[in-house]
Symmetry: C2
Subunit: 246 residues, 2 copies
DNA sequence: AGCCGTGACATTGTCCAACAATGAACCGCT
DNA sequence: AGCGGTTCATTGTTGGACAATGTCACGGCT
Protein backbone atom coordinates (compact mmCIF):
# COMPACT_ATOMS: atom_id res chain seq x y z
CA UNK A 1 0.00 0.00 0.00
CA UNK A 2 2.98 2.32 0.26
CA UNK A 3 3.25 4.67 -2.66
CA UNK A 4 6.66 5.89 -3.71
CA UNK A 5 6.53 9.19 -5.50
CA UNK A 6 9.50 10.84 -7.16
CA UNK A 7 9.32 14.25 -5.64
CA UNK A 8 12.50 15.60 -7.10
CA UNK A 9 12.56 14.34 -10.65
CA UNK A 10 9.20 13.80 -12.21
CA UNK A 11 10.65 13.28 -15.70
CA UNK A 12 10.90 9.62 -16.46
CA UNK A 13 13.15 8.39 -19.21
CA UNK A 14 13.82 4.79 -18.35
CA UNK A 15 11.05 2.24 -18.40
CA UNK A 16 11.01 -1.03 -16.62
CA UNK A 17 13.06 -3.61 -18.45
CA UNK A 18 10.71 -6.24 -19.76
CA UNK A 19 11.84 -9.80 -20.09
CA UNK A 20 11.43 -11.41 -23.49
CA UNK A 21 8.60 -13.65 -22.32
CA UNK A 22 6.64 -10.65 -21.05
CA UNK A 23 7.01 -8.77 -24.29
CA UNK A 24 5.86 -11.69 -26.39
CA UNK A 25 2.94 -12.31 -24.09
CA UNK A 26 1.92 -8.67 -24.10
CA UNK A 27 2.15 -8.33 -27.86
CA UNK A 28 -0.07 -11.32 -28.43
CA UNK A 29 -2.46 -10.15 -25.73
CA UNK A 30 -3.01 -6.75 -27.31
CA UNK A 31 -3.37 -8.40 -30.70
CA UNK A 32 -6.27 -10.37 -29.24
CA UNK A 33 -7.84 -7.63 -27.14
CA UNK A 34 -7.57 -5.09 -29.94
CA UNK A 35 -9.49 -7.37 -32.25
CA UNK A 36 -6.55 -7.87 -34.58
CA UNK A 37 -6.91 -11.56 -33.79
CA UNK A 38 -10.49 -12.73 -33.60
CA UNK A 39 -12.17 -15.63 -31.85
CA UNK A 40 -11.22 -18.92 -33.44
CA UNK A 41 -8.23 -17.52 -35.31
CA UNK A 42 -5.19 -19.71 -35.52
CA UNK A 43 -1.90 -18.22 -34.40
CA UNK A 44 1.23 -18.96 -36.38
CA UNK A 45 3.06 -22.11 -35.28
CA UNK A 46 5.40 -21.74 -32.36
CA UNK A 47 8.54 -21.97 -34.48
CA UNK A 48 7.24 -19.22 -36.73
CA UNK A 49 6.38 -17.02 -33.74
CA UNK A 50 9.84 -17.66 -32.36
CA UNK A 51 11.30 -16.53 -35.68
CA UNK A 52 9.12 -13.39 -35.84
CA UNK A 53 9.91 -12.32 -32.29
CA UNK A 54 13.48 -13.48 -32.64
CA UNK A 55 13.37 -15.49 -29.42
CA UNK A 56 13.59 -19.17 -28.71
CA UNK A 57 10.65 -21.46 -29.00
CA UNK A 58 10.87 -22.07 -25.26
CA UNK A 59 10.20 -18.41 -24.56
CA UNK A 60 7.29 -18.34 -26.96
CA UNK A 61 5.89 -21.41 -25.28
CA UNK A 62 6.04 -19.82 -21.83
CA UNK A 63 4.16 -16.81 -23.14
CA UNK A 64 1.55 -19.04 -24.75
CA UNK A 65 1.23 -21.11 -21.59
CA UNK A 66 0.45 -17.97 -19.64
CA UNK A 67 -2.09 -16.79 -22.18
CA UNK A 68 -3.68 -20.22 -22.11
CA UNK A 69 -4.03 -20.09 -18.34
CA UNK A 70 -5.56 -16.65 -18.65
CA UNK A 71 -8.14 -18.12 -20.96
CA UNK A 72 -7.20 -16.01 -23.97
CA UNK A 73 -6.11 -18.89 -26.17
CA UNK A 74 -6.33 -22.66 -26.19
CA UNK A 75 -3.87 -25.18 -27.52
CA UNK A 76 -4.58 -28.14 -29.76
CA UNK A 77 -1.87 -30.70 -30.42
CA UNK A 78 -1.68 -32.62 -33.62
CA UNK A 79 -1.36 -31.96 -37.30
CA UNK A 80 -4.12 -29.41 -37.87
CA UNK A 81 -3.69 -28.17 -34.32
CA UNK A 82 -2.12 -25.00 -33.05
CA UNK A 83 -2.88 -22.10 -30.77
CA UNK A 84 -6.37 -20.71 -31.24
CA UNK A 85 -7.93 -17.54 -29.95
CA UNK A 86 -10.44 -18.47 -27.28
CA UNK A 87 -14.01 -17.22 -27.31
CA UNK A 88 -14.22 -14.54 -24.66
CA UNK A 89 -17.71 -13.68 -23.54
CA UNK A 90 -19.40 -13.04 -20.22
CA UNK A 91 -19.15 -16.70 -19.31
CA UNK A 92 -15.42 -16.15 -18.84
CA UNK A 93 -16.24 -13.85 -15.96
CA UNK A 94 -18.34 -16.55 -14.38
CA UNK A 95 -15.63 -19.17 -14.52
CA UNK A 96 -13.04 -16.71 -13.25
CA UNK A 97 -15.22 -16.01 -10.23
CA UNK A 98 -15.92 -19.69 -9.68
CA UNK A 99 -12.24 -20.55 -9.67
CA UNK A 100 -11.24 -17.77 -7.34
CA UNK A 101 -14.10 -18.28 -4.91
CA UNK A 102 -13.45 -21.99 -4.89
CA UNK A 103 -9.81 -21.45 -3.96
CA UNK A 104 -10.68 -18.97 -1.24
CA UNK A 105 -13.30 -21.29 0.19
CA UNK A 106 -11.03 -24.33 0.37
CA UNK A 107 -8.27 -22.22 1.87
CA UNK A 108 -10.69 -20.84 4.43
CA UNK A 109 -9.93 -17.26 3.40
CA UNK A 110 -13.62 -16.48 3.10
CA UNK A 111 -16.69 -17.91 4.73
CA UNK A 112 -19.44 -19.79 3.02
CA UNK A 113 -22.03 -17.45 4.47
CA UNK A 114 -20.37 -14.45 2.87
CA UNK A 115 -20.81 -16.02 -0.54
CA UNK A 116 -24.38 -17.01 0.14
CA UNK A 117 -25.18 -13.54 1.37
CA UNK A 118 -23.86 -11.86 -1.75
CA UNK A 119 -25.69 -14.38 -3.84
CA UNK A 120 -28.94 -13.34 -2.28
CA UNK A 121 -28.14 -9.66 -2.74
CA UNK A 122 -27.68 -10.34 -6.44
CA UNK A 123 -30.53 -12.74 -7.02
CA UNK A 124 -33.13 -10.30 -5.79
CA UNK A 125 -32.37 -7.63 -8.40
CA UNK A 126 -31.92 -10.40 -10.96
CA UNK A 127 -35.37 -11.79 -10.46
CA UNK A 128 -36.90 -8.31 -10.42
CA UNK A 129 -35.26 -7.48 -13.72
CA UNK A 130 -36.25 -10.85 -15.11
CA UNK A 131 -39.86 -10.15 -14.25
CA UNK A 132 -39.64 -6.85 -16.08
CA UNK A 133 -37.61 -7.87 -19.11
CA UNK A 134 -38.32 -11.54 -19.66
CA UNK A 135 -39.12 -12.65 -23.19
CA UNK A 136 -41.80 -15.18 -24.05
CA UNK A 137 -39.05 -17.66 -24.80
CA UNK A 138 -37.41 -17.14 -21.40
CA UNK A 139 -40.71 -17.87 -19.76
CA UNK A 140 -41.27 -21.02 -21.78
CA UNK A 141 -37.83 -22.33 -20.89
CA UNK A 142 -38.39 -21.65 -17.21
CA UNK A 143 -41.71 -23.44 -17.29
CA UNK A 144 -40.07 -26.37 -19.04
CA UNK A 145 -37.46 -26.67 -16.32
CA UNK A 146 -40.02 -26.57 -13.54
CA UNK A 147 -41.98 -29.25 -15.36
CA UNK A 148 -38.92 -31.47 -15.52
CA UNK A 149 -38.13 -30.79 -11.87
CA UNK A 150 -41.61 -31.84 -10.92
CA UNK A 151 -41.27 -35.18 -12.68
CA UNK A 152 -37.68 -35.88 -11.58
CA UNK A 153 -37.21 -38.26 -8.68
CA UNK A 154 -35.11 -37.17 -5.71
CA UNK A 155 -32.03 -39.16 -6.61
CA UNK A 156 -32.10 -38.27 -10.28
CA UNK A 157 -28.63 -37.07 -11.25
CA UNK A 158 -30.28 -34.34 -13.30
CA UNK A 159 -31.59 -32.55 -10.22
CA UNK A 160 -28.56 -30.39 -9.46
CA UNK A 161 -28.18 -29.47 -13.11
CA UNK A 162 -31.80 -28.44 -13.37
CA UNK A 163 -31.50 -26.28 -10.31
CA UNK A 164 -28.42 -24.59 -11.69
CA UNK A 165 -30.17 -24.01 -15.00
CA UNK A 166 -33.20 -22.57 -13.28
CA UNK A 167 -31.30 -19.91 -11.39
CA UNK A 168 -28.97 -19.16 -14.30
CA UNK A 169 -31.86 -18.74 -16.68
CA UNK A 170 -33.53 -16.21 -14.41
CA UNK A 171 -30.35 -14.23 -14.18
CA UNK A 172 -29.96 -14.38 -17.93
CA UNK A 173 -33.50 -13.18 -18.44
CA UNK A 174 -32.57 -10.08 -16.48
CA UNK A 175 -30.78 -8.86 -19.57
CA UNK A 176 -27.65 -7.98 -17.61
CA UNK A 177 -24.84 -10.34 -18.52
CA UNK A 178 -22.54 -9.30 -15.68
CA UNK A 179 -25.32 -9.97 -13.22
CA UNK A 180 -26.03 -13.31 -14.89
CA UNK A 181 -22.40 -14.37 -14.64
CA UNK A 182 -22.13 -13.46 -10.99
CA UNK A 183 -25.35 -15.16 -10.02
CA UNK A 184 -24.55 -18.41 -11.77
CA UNK A 185 -21.01 -18.43 -10.39
CA UNK A 186 -22.15 -17.87 -6.83
CA UNK A 187 -24.95 -20.36 -7.24
CA UNK A 188 -22.45 -22.91 -8.47
CA UNK A 189 -20.33 -22.44 -5.38
CA UNK A 190 -23.08 -22.29 -2.78
CA UNK A 191 -25.55 -24.87 -3.95
CA UNK A 192 -23.62 -28.14 -4.15
CA UNK A 193 -23.82 -28.59 -0.42
CA UNK A 194 -27.51 -29.32 -0.26
CA UNK A 195 -27.48 -32.07 -2.84
CA UNK A 196 -26.22 -34.42 -0.17
CA UNK A 197 -29.41 -34.57 1.74
CA UNK A 198 -32.53 -34.24 -0.27
CA UNK A 199 -35.66 -35.59 1.25
CA UNK A 200 -38.75 -35.83 -0.95
CA UNK A 201 -40.30 -33.13 1.22
CA UNK A 202 -37.54 -30.67 0.46
CA UNK A 203 -37.70 -31.56 -3.20
CA UNK A 204 -41.41 -30.88 -3.39
CA UNK A 205 -41.11 -27.63 -1.45
CA UNK A 206 -38.35 -26.46 -3.76
CA UNK A 207 -40.37 -27.14 -6.86
CA UNK A 208 -43.38 -25.38 -5.38
CA UNK A 209 -41.26 -22.32 -4.62
CA UNK A 210 -39.74 -22.39 -8.08
CA UNK A 211 -43.21 -22.44 -9.54
CA UNK A 212 -44.18 -19.40 -7.49
CA UNK A 213 -41.15 -17.54 -8.81
CA UNK A 214 -41.96 -18.41 -12.39
CA UNK A 215 -45.58 -17.36 -11.93
CA UNK A 216 -44.48 -13.96 -10.68
CA UNK A 217 -42.12 -13.61 -13.62
CA UNK A 218 -44.91 -14.65 -15.96
CA UNK A 219 -47.15 -11.97 -14.48
CA UNK A 220 -44.28 -9.50 -14.85
CA UNK A 221 -44.70 -8.57 -11.23
CA UNK A 222 -41.29 -7.66 -9.76
CA UNK A 223 -42.56 -7.27 -6.20
CA UNK A 224 -44.15 -10.71 -6.18
CA UNK A 225 -41.03 -12.13 -7.79
CA UNK A 226 -38.81 -10.61 -5.13
CA UNK A 227 -41.08 -11.94 -2.46
CA UNK A 228 -40.99 -15.43 -3.93
CA UNK A 229 -37.24 -15.61 -4.35
CA UNK A 230 -36.56 -14.28 -0.87
CA UNK A 231 -38.84 -16.94 0.56
CA UNK A 232 -37.05 -19.56 -1.50
CA UNK A 233 -33.56 -18.49 -0.50
CA UNK A 234 -34.52 -18.13 3.12
CA UNK A 235 -35.99 -21.61 3.10
CA UNK A 236 -32.82 -23.01 1.57
CA UNK A 237 -30.60 -21.25 4.04
CA UNK A 238 -32.63 -22.41 7.01
CA UNK A 239 -32.57 -25.90 5.65
CA UNK A 240 -28.84 -25.76 5.08
CA UNK A 241 -28.16 -24.45 8.55
CA UNK A 242 -29.84 -27.54 9.98
CA UNK A 243 -27.23 -29.68 8.24
CA UNK A 244 -23.87 -28.14 8.94
CA UNK A 245 -22.01 -31.30 9.74
CA UNK A 246 -18.57 -30.62 8.36
CA UNK B 1 -24.18 -28.01 -22.99
CA UNK B 2 -24.55 -31.47 -24.44
CA UNK B 3 -23.99 -34.23 -21.92
CA UNK B 4 -22.68 -37.54 -23.15
CA UNK B 5 -23.64 -40.40 -20.91
CA UNK B 6 -22.42 -43.93 -21.35
CA UNK B 7 -25.67 -45.80 -21.46
CA UNK B 8 -24.24 -49.21 -22.18
CA UNK B 9 -21.23 -49.47 -19.96
CA UNK B 10 -21.41 -47.44 -16.80
CA UNK B 11 -18.28 -49.05 -15.32
CA UNK B 12 -15.33 -46.79 -15.93
CA UNK B 13 -11.86 -48.18 -15.67
CA UNK B 14 -9.70 -45.84 -17.75
CA UNK B 15 -9.18 -42.26 -16.68
CA UNK B 16 -8.16 -39.43 -18.90
CA UNK B 17 -4.44 -39.55 -19.61
CA UNK B 18 -2.86 -36.55 -17.98
CA UNK B 19 0.16 -34.94 -19.52
CA UNK B 20 3.19 -34.60 -17.31
CA UNK B 21 2.80 -30.83 -17.03
CA UNK B 22 -0.77 -31.19 -15.81
CA UNK B 23 0.18 -33.72 -13.17
CA UNK B 24 2.98 -31.58 -11.81
CA UNK B 25 0.76 -28.53 -11.80
CA UNK B 26 -2.06 -30.35 -10.07
CA UNK B 27 0.18 -31.85 -7.41
CA UNK B 28 1.61 -28.49 -6.50
CA UNK B 29 -1.82 -26.88 -6.59
CA UNK B 30 -3.30 -29.32 -4.10
CA UNK B 31 -0.23 -28.96 -1.92
CA UNK B 32 -1.01 -25.26 -1.74
CA UNK B 33 -4.78 -25.48 -1.45
CA UNK B 34 -4.59 -28.22 1.16
CA UNK B 35 -2.41 -26.07 3.32
CA UNK B 36 0.59 -28.38 3.03
CA UNK B 37 2.41 -25.38 1.57
CA UNK B 38 1.64 -22.14 3.34
CA UNK B 39 1.77 -18.53 2.29
CA UNK B 40 5.35 -17.37 1.85
CA UNK B 41 6.79 -20.88 1.73
CA UNK B 42 9.62 -21.45 -0.70
CA UNK B 43 9.22 -24.33 -3.14
CA UNK B 44 12.23 -26.50 -3.91
CA UNK B 45 14.39 -25.23 -6.78
CA UNK B 46 13.24 -26.17 -10.25
CA UNK B 47 15.98 -28.72 -10.77
CA UNK B 48 15.05 -30.41 -7.52
CA UNK B 49 11.36 -30.47 -8.46
CA UNK B 50 12.30 -31.92 -11.83
CA UNK B 51 14.25 -34.64 -10.03
CA UNK B 52 11.39 -35.40 -7.62
CA UNK B 53 8.74 -35.61 -10.34
CA UNK B 54 11.16 -37.28 -12.70
CA UNK B 55 10.43 -34.89 -15.53
CA UNK B 56 12.52 -32.29 -17.30
CA UNK B 57 13.04 -28.85 -15.89
CA UNK B 58 11.18 -27.40 -18.86
CA UNK B 59 8.05 -29.30 -17.88
CA UNK B 60 8.33 -28.14 -14.30
CA UNK B 61 8.73 -24.60 -15.52
CA UNK B 62 5.56 -24.76 -17.61
CA UNK B 63 3.64 -25.98 -14.59
CA UNK B 64 5.10 -23.19 -12.46
CA UNK B 65 4.35 -20.63 -15.14
CA UNK B 66 0.72 -21.66 -15.13
CA UNK B 67 0.52 -21.54 -11.34
CA UNK B 68 2.11 -18.12 -11.42
CA UNK B 69 -0.48 -16.84 -13.87
CA UNK B 70 -3.20 -18.28 -11.66
CA UNK B 71 -1.80 -16.24 -8.81
CA UNK B 72 -0.95 -19.21 -6.61
CA UNK B 73 2.81 -18.62 -6.58
CA UNK B 74 5.24 -15.90 -7.55
CA UNK B 75 8.74 -16.20 -8.90
CA UNK B 76 11.83 -14.38 -7.73
CA UNK B 77 15.04 -14.62 -9.72
CA UNK B 78 18.42 -14.41 -8.10
CA UNK B 79 20.44 -16.19 -5.51
CA UNK B 80 18.00 -16.25 -2.61
CA UNK B 81 15.10 -16.32 -5.04
CA UNK B 82 12.81 -19.14 -5.97
CA UNK B 83 9.13 -19.94 -6.27
CA UNK B 84 7.10 -18.71 -3.32
CA UNK B 85 3.54 -19.45 -2.33
CA UNK B 86 1.47 -16.35 -2.93
CA UNK B 87 -0.79 -14.86 -0.28
CA UNK B 88 -4.33 -15.79 -1.27
CA UNK B 89 -7.02 -13.73 0.38
CA UNK B 90 -10.21 -12.06 -0.76
CA UNK B 91 -8.27 -9.43 -2.67
CA UNK B 92 -7.42 -12.16 -5.18
CA UNK B 93 -11.09 -12.33 -6.05
CA UNK B 94 -11.13 -8.60 -6.66
CA UNK B 95 -8.21 -8.64 -9.05
CA UNK B 96 -9.58 -11.69 -10.85
CA UNK B 97 -12.84 -9.82 -11.44
CA UNK B 98 -11.02 -6.67 -12.50
CA UNK B 99 -8.94 -8.51 -15.08
CA UNK B 100 -11.86 -10.40 -16.55
CA UNK B 101 -14.21 -7.43 -16.65
CA UNK B 102 -11.49 -5.30 -18.20
CA UNK B 103 -10.96 -7.81 -20.99
CA UNK B 104 -14.66 -8.13 -21.66
CA UNK B 105 -15.08 -4.38 -21.73
CA UNK B 106 -12.26 -3.74 -24.19
CA UNK B 107 -13.49 -6.58 -26.37
CA UNK B 108 -16.99 -5.17 -26.30
CA UNK B 109 -18.40 -8.42 -24.96
CA UNK B 110 -20.23 -6.60 -22.20
CA UNK B 111 -21.56 -3.09 -21.87
CA UNK B 112 -20.33 -0.48 -19.47
CA UNK B 113 -23.85 0.07 -18.18
CA UNK B 114 -24.18 -3.56 -17.19
CA UNK B 115 -21.17 -3.23 -14.92
CA UNK B 116 -22.39 0.04 -13.46
CA UNK B 117 -25.80 -1.44 -12.81
CA UNK B 118 -24.41 -4.39 -10.90
CA UNK B 119 -22.16 -2.06 -8.99
CA UNK B 120 -25.16 -0.15 -7.76
CA UNK B 121 -26.98 -3.33 -6.85
CA UNK B 122 -24.02 -4.28 -4.66
CA UNK B 123 -23.21 -0.90 -3.16
CA UNK B 124 -26.67 -0.49 -1.69
CA UNK B 125 -26.49 -3.60 0.50
CA UNK B 126 -22.86 -2.75 1.22
CA UNK B 127 -23.66 0.63 2.62
CA UNK B 128 -26.60 -0.72 4.59
CA UNK B 129 -24.43 -3.36 6.17
CA UNK B 130 -21.72 -0.82 6.79
CA UNK B 131 -24.19 1.36 8.67
CA UNK B 132 -25.15 -1.58 10.80
CA UNK B 133 -21.75 -3.15 11.40
CA UNK B 134 -19.25 -0.33 11.16
CA UNK B 135 -16.63 -0.07 13.88
CA UNK B 136 -15.47 3.17 15.43
CA UNK B 137 -12.24 2.82 13.51
CA UNK B 138 -14.05 2.39 10.19
CA UNK B 139 -15.93 5.57 10.87
CA UNK B 140 -12.80 7.50 11.73
CA UNK B 141 -11.10 6.38 8.55
CA UNK B 142 -14.08 7.37 6.44
CA UNK B 143 -14.17 10.80 8.06
CA UNK B 144 -10.47 11.19 7.42
CA UNK B 145 -10.92 10.46 3.73
CA UNK B 146 -13.75 12.94 3.37
CA UNK B 147 -11.61 15.56 5.12
CA UNK B 148 -8.81 14.99 2.66
CA UNK B 149 -11.21 15.06 -0.26
CA UNK B 150 -12.51 18.39 0.91
CA UNK B 151 -9.06 19.91 0.96
CA UNK B 152 -7.84 18.35 -2.29
CA UNK B 153 -7.90 20.52 -5.36
CA UNK B 154 -9.62 19.28 -8.49
CA UNK B 155 -6.49 18.31 -10.38
CA UNK B 156 -4.82 16.64 -7.42
CA UNK B 157 -3.60 13.23 -8.56
CA UNK B 158 -4.82 11.84 -5.22
CA UNK B 159 -8.46 12.41 -6.07
CA UNK B 160 -9.15 9.14 -7.89
CA UNK B 161 -7.32 7.18 -5.25
CA UNK B 162 -9.30 8.80 -2.46
CA UNK B 163 -12.54 8.03 -4.22
CA UNK B 164 -11.56 4.41 -4.64
CA UNK B 165 -10.58 4.19 -0.99
CA UNK B 166 -13.83 5.73 0.08
CA UNK B 167 -16.01 3.21 -1.68
CA UNK B 168 -13.75 0.29 -0.82
CA UNK B 169 -13.72 1.20 2.84
CA UNK B 170 -17.47 1.26 3.01
CA UNK B 171 -17.67 -2.14 1.42
CA UNK B 172 -15.05 -3.40 3.84
CA UNK B 173 -16.97 -2.03 6.78
CA UNK B 174 -19.89 -4.18 5.70
CA UNK B 175 -18.03 -7.13 7.15
CA UNK B 176 -18.59 -9.25 4.04
CA UNK B 177 -15.30 -9.76 2.23
CA UNK B 178 -16.83 -11.16 -0.93
CA UNK B 179 -19.06 -8.15 -1.16
CA UNK B 180 -16.09 -5.87 -0.52
CA UNK B 181 -14.05 -7.48 -3.29
CA UNK B 182 -16.84 -7.20 -5.81
CA UNK B 183 -17.62 -3.59 -4.98
CA UNK B 184 -14.06 -2.40 -5.20
CA UNK B 185 -13.46 -4.35 -8.41
CA UNK B 186 -16.53 -2.92 -10.10
CA UNK B 187 -15.75 0.53 -8.79
CA UNK B 188 -12.27 0.23 -10.21
CA UNK B 189 -13.66 -0.58 -13.64
CA UNK B 190 -16.50 1.92 -13.75
CA UNK B 191 -15.05 4.99 -12.12
CA UNK B 192 -11.95 5.87 -14.14
CA UNK B 193 -14.05 7.40 -16.86
CA UNK B 194 -15.16 10.40 -14.92
CA UNK B 195 -11.71 11.51 -13.87
CA UNK B 196 -11.31 13.11 -17.25
CA UNK B 197 -13.69 15.93 -16.67
CA UNK B 198 -13.93 17.15 -13.16
CA UNK B 199 -15.25 20.61 -12.70
CA UNK B 200 -14.95 22.19 -9.24
CA UNK B 201 -18.74 22.03 -9.03
CA UNK B 202 -18.80 18.28 -9.48
CA UNK B 203 -15.98 17.90 -7.03
CA UNK B 204 -17.82 19.84 -4.35
CA UNK B 205 -21.07 18.00 -4.97
CA UNK B 206 -19.29 14.68 -4.69
CA UNK B 207 -17.72 15.57 -1.38
CA UNK B 208 -21.05 16.78 -0.05
CA UNK B 209 -22.68 13.51 -1.01
CA UNK B 210 -19.85 11.51 0.51
CA UNK B 211 -20.30 13.41 3.73
CA UNK B 212 -24.01 12.60 3.76
CA UNK B 213 -23.20 8.92 3.36
CA UNK B 214 -20.71 8.98 6.19
CA UNK B 215 -23.17 10.81 8.43
CA UNK B 216 -25.76 8.12 7.86
CA UNK B 217 -23.19 5.43 8.60
CA UNK B 218 -22.16 7.31 11.73
CA UNK B 219 -25.79 7.40 12.87
CA UNK B 220 -26.04 3.68 12.06
CA UNK B 221 -29.10 4.41 9.99
CA UNK B 222 -29.25 1.95 7.06
CA UNK B 223 -32.23 3.60 5.41
CA UNK B 224 -30.61 7.00 5.37
CA UNK B 225 -27.38 5.43 4.15
CA UNK B 226 -29.17 3.71 1.30
CA UNK B 227 -30.87 6.91 0.39
CA UNK B 228 -27.59 8.81 0.36
CA UNK B 229 -25.69 6.30 -1.75
CA UNK B 230 -28.49 5.99 -4.28
CA UNK B 231 -28.53 9.76 -4.65
CA UNK B 232 -24.77 9.74 -5.08
CA UNK B 233 -24.69 6.98 -7.68
CA UNK B 234 -27.60 8.46 -9.57
CA UNK B 235 -25.85 11.81 -9.67
CA UNK B 236 -22.67 10.21 -10.99
CA UNK B 237 -24.51 8.25 -13.62
CA UNK B 238 -26.41 11.29 -14.83
CA UNK B 239 -23.19 13.24 -14.92
CA UNK B 240 -21.42 10.49 -16.80
CA UNK B 241 -24.18 10.14 -19.35
CA UNK B 242 -23.68 13.80 -20.25
CA UNK B 243 -20.11 13.04 -21.23
CA UNK B 244 -20.20 9.96 -23.38
CA UNK B 245 -17.79 11.16 -26.02
CA UNK B 246 -15.86 8.07 -26.90
C1' DA C 1 33.79 1.51 12.90
C1' DG C 2 31.27 2.28 8.97
C1' DC C 3 30.69 2.60 3.99
C1' DC C 4 31.23 1.07 -0.68
C1' DG C 5 32.42 -1.67 -4.41
C1' DT C 6 33.22 -6.23 -6.08
C1' DG C 7 33.12 -10.85 -6.86
C1' DA C 8 31.19 -15.56 -5.75
C1' DC C 9 27.02 -18.14 -5.75
C1' DA C 10 22.38 -20.09 -6.15
C1' DT C 11 18.48 -19.65 -8.70
C1' DT C 12 15.53 -18.36 -12.36
C1' DG C 13 15.49 -17.00 -17.45
C1' DT C 14 16.58 -18.09 -22.18
C1' DC C 15 18.53 -20.72 -25.85
C1' DC C 16 19.28 -24.74 -28.88
C1' DA C 17 18.57 -29.06 -31.08
C1' DA C 18 16.52 -33.16 -30.98
C1' DC C 19 12.89 -36.61 -30.36
C1' DA C 20 8.05 -38.17 -28.72
C1' DA C 21 3.11 -37.79 -28.91
C1' DT C 22 -0.88 -36.27 -31.11
C1' DG C 23 -4.47 -36.22 -34.23
C1' DA C 24 -6.16 -34.91 -38.93
C1' DA C 25 -5.92 -35.92 -43.68
C1' DC C 26 -4.83 -39.01 -47.13
C1' DC C 27 -4.46 -43.24 -49.56
C1' DG C 28 -5.21 -47.81 -50.76
C1' DC C 29 -7.27 -52.12 -49.96
C1' DT C 30 -11.24 -54.79 -49.85
C1' DA D 1 -18.47 -47.27 -48.85
C1' DG D 2 -15.95 -48.68 -45.00
C1' DC D 3 -11.72 -49.95 -42.73
C1' DG D 4 -6.76 -49.60 -41.62
C1' DG D 5 -2.48 -48.00 -42.00
C1' DT D 6 0.78 -43.96 -43.42
C1' DT D 7 2.19 -39.39 -43.71
C1' DC D 8 2.74 -35.03 -41.83
C1' DA D 9 2.41 -30.65 -39.32
C1' DT D 10 2.21 -29.21 -34.86
C1' DT D 11 2.48 -29.24 -29.99
C1' DG D 12 4.76 -31.72 -25.90
C1' DT D 13 8.98 -33.16 -23.58
C1' DT D 14 13.86 -33.92 -23.04
C1' DG D 15 18.79 -32.70 -21.89
C1' DG D 16 22.21 -29.68 -21.55
C1' DA D 17 24.21 -25.31 -21.88
C1' DC D 18 24.75 -20.41 -20.99
C1' DA D 19 22.83 -15.65 -19.54
C1' DA D 20 20.71 -12.64 -16.16
C1' DT D 21 19.54 -11.65 -11.60
C1' DG D 22 19.97 -10.40 -7.04
C1' DT D 23 21.87 -11.82 -2.30
C1' DC D 24 25.67 -12.35 0.51
C1' DA D 25 30.21 -12.08 2.17
C1' DC D 26 34.48 -10.17 1.80
C1' DG D 27 37.86 -6.80 1.51
C1' DG D 28 39.48 -2.18 0.85
C1' DC D 29 38.83 2.63 1.62
C1' DT D 30 37.72 6.57 4.48
Amino acid sequence: MVELRDTQQSRVIGQKVLRPREQVEERIRVAILSGELKTGDLLPPEVELARQFNVSRTTVREALRSLTTQGLIYKVPGSRGGNFVQLIDHHSLGTAVIDSVHNLLTLGSIEFTEVAEVRQHLEVPAVRLAAANRSAEDLERLRDIVRRQKSASVDDPEVPKLDEQFHSLIAQASGNRVLASFVSALHHETEPVHYLDLSPDVGRATVRQHKAIVDAIAAQDPDAAEDAIVKHLTYLRKHLAAHVKR
